[in-house]
């Protein structure tokens, strides 16, 4: 065993102690949680922050003169700065709190309505989650713009030459995920952003699946909008962020009306608040925002380089063992991918394998993963998806492989 190996193994056991849920049993077996691409688990450090908030300083923010409100406001705004620093945004007001990735996408899609007209073109990729297809279809229906799709190859990689052919002076927006939720493909967003900018199109990158594994630098990427959810990054559900370049956020009209987002209101005219509040109508998820900041602290303390290298090791270890199983086919074999393995075994329905593995305490996702176009591309009803995080172990993968073999035996 190499020194690095020892170091990493030591870390995993220590890290696992931070996650109380990993101690529980399911159907009488120790839980093996491989559904991380759907949601990650929460470390005690983040749970403590949530408990502390509701135990000690729960208050509505920004307008109160009392101590609790000030403490809550400070913590919430400090978390925004943590998020800004994490993503290397130029300004804290370029970080808009949202309820999650889907909210962020809808915010941009709705706000763009007034900027698009008939004849304009919007490009999405074939690898998108439904949440990054439907809002743009709705936007195109509202504005008369046309939706175009970047096709993919059988490895699950986007065909960049086709993307270049789609780009022209009418292209106004390009939407692509950083990493595909169904296949784990890491998309070449640097090239996509550069090519889109060459025709003056704005780019929104859906980072829901990338943020648990890599630390994006929005300035280096020169991306116009970047969205993600806290619950995929060891944070709570119901909170996320939209990064937008200041110039874009100033240009876009507000998405929702309400308290917090206004400067002055009369029945004749309302003036909107400055960024970021212009896009944050109503009482926000205060505790969620603070816990989001704590989750980023937790991940950064471990370090994203260490996380990525360990997760790659898990991916390789699991892939090699799975390919030994007769009839097992992995969907998504891109050269650049994260620790997501989407697969089927022979003609066995994914639901059947998922059901049997659940009986053995193993949590996986089965179905179309909200990416029906990808399943149509491969002409399958769905897949089984195992997705790993830095708190998973090789021993868990061994147990999963044995359970999978047993399920296949029962179902064949």
């Amino acid at each position: 065993m190499s020194t690095t190996q020892k170091h990493i193994d030591f870390h995993v056991e220590a890290i696992r102690k931070d996650f109380p849920i990993l101690n529980r049993e399911v159907n009488g077996k120790p839980l093996i949680y491989f559904d991380n691409a759907a949601t990650s688990q929460t470390p005690q450090q983040v749970i403590d922050v949530i408990v502390d908030y509701y135990s000690n300083y729960n208050a509505n923010i920004h307008r109160g003169v009392h101590a609790l409100s000030q403490e809550a406001t400070d913590a919430y705004e400090q978390a925004r700065i943590k998020i800004q620093k994490h993503f290397n945004a130029k300004h804290a007001h370029e970080i808009i709190y949202t309820s999650g990735t889907t909210h962020g996408i809808n915010l941009v899609a709705n706000s763009f309505s007034s900027l698009l007209k008939k004849g304009d073109e919007v490009i999405v990729s074939a690898l998108e989650h439904h949440s990054n297809i439907v809002p743009w279809q709705m936007l195109c229906e509202r504005t008369g713009a046309t939706l175009k799709v970047i096709p993919m190859n059988t490895d699950g990689e986007l065909i960049l030459s086709e993307f270049e052919r789609l780009l022209n002076a009418n292209t106004k927006l390009v939407f692509v995920n950083h990493i595909s939720n169904a296949l784990g493909t890491i998309n070449p967003i640097e090239a996509i952003i550069e090519k889109a900018h060459a025709v003056n199109a704005a780019v929104l990158v859906d980072g829901a699946q990338s943020c648990p594994h890599i630390r994006p630098d929005v300035q280096a990427l020169d991306v116009d909008f970047y969205v993600c959810s806290a619950h995929k990054i060891c944070g709570p559900t119901g909170v996320g962020m939209l990064y937008g370049k200041e110039e874009w956020l100033k240009k876009l009209p507000p998405y929702q009306g309400g308290g917090e987002m206004i400067a002055e209101v009369s029945f004749e005219k309302t003036t909107y608040a400055d960024l970021p509040h212009k896009f944050e109508a109503g009482t926000p998820n205060v505790c969620g925002g603070i816990a989001f900041g704590a989750a980023l602290d937790y991940m950064n303390a471990i370090g994203f380089d260490a996380i990525a290298s360990y997760e790659n090791e898990l991916l390789e270890y699991a892939t090699n063992q799975m390919l030994q199983i007769d009839g097992l086919k992995i969907y998504g074999t891109a050269k650049e991918k994260t620790s997501v393995i989407s697969f089927n075994v022979g003609n066995i329905h994914p639901y059947d394998i998922g059901t049997i593995l659940d009986k053995m305490g193993i949590a996986l996702r089965t179905g179309h993963h909200c990416a029906q176009p990808i399943m149509d591309f491969y002409q399958i009803p769905g897949t089984i998806r195992a997705s790993f995080m830095f708190y998973n172990t090789k021993e868990e993968i061994d147990t999963f492989i044995a359970a999978l073999k047993k399920a296949v035996m029962m179902l064949s």
């Binding site: 159907n27 066995i348 329905h349 994914p350 639901y351 059947d352 998922g354 059901t355 049997i356 009986k359 089965t366 179905g367 179309h368 009803p381 769905g382 029962m410 179902l411």
Partner: protein, 140 residues
């Protein structure tokens, strides 16, 4: 036999199994062996789309009794369908409308009738009852 008698018979059969593996193996075998529906009835009109698995249901009435045939693309779902059809098929519409599915709970398969599984079974049971209501209206 009444629906209740058939359900009790199924509960008895399942009580012989010692663990989940035997129960599931039995259902998988049921799912594999039984021809549950004629291909001509596996149409889009008869499909119930679950998020996870698809279910097809067809009904007809002979001598005041409703007969069901059904199928699924997932074997475990199909096994449960086989059990449900055994209990509900060839019964008077009124009996089908009044019957419940508590026996599924008693044989340890309750989780499959949870709406969150989105396997089409919950909608299928609703559909069986809808057919029974429709046929009862014809009888009246």
């Amino acid at each position: 036999m009444t629906i209740e008698e058939i359900q009790n018979e199924i509960i008895d059969e399942f009580s012989m199994f010692d663990n989940w593996e035997e129960r599931y193996q039995y259902m998988i075998d049921l799912g594999k062996t039984l021809p549950l529906i004629d291909d001509i009835h596996k149409t889009d009109d008869n499909i119930i789309k679950g998020c996870q698995s698809k279910v097809w249901v067809h009904a007809n009435m002979n001598d005041d009794k409703v007969a069901f045939t059904a199928d699924s693309d997932a074997i475990i779902t199909k096994g449960i369908i086989a059990i449900l059809i055994r209990a509900f098929s060839n019964q008077h519409p009124t009996a089908i409308i009044e019957a419940n599915t508590d026996f599924i709970d008693k044989i340890g398969l309750k989780e499959h009738l949870s709406p969150t599984r989105a396997n089409g079974l919950v909608s299928m049971i609703k559909q069986l009852k809808m057919y029974a209501i429709a046929y009862q209206t014809q009888l009246n």
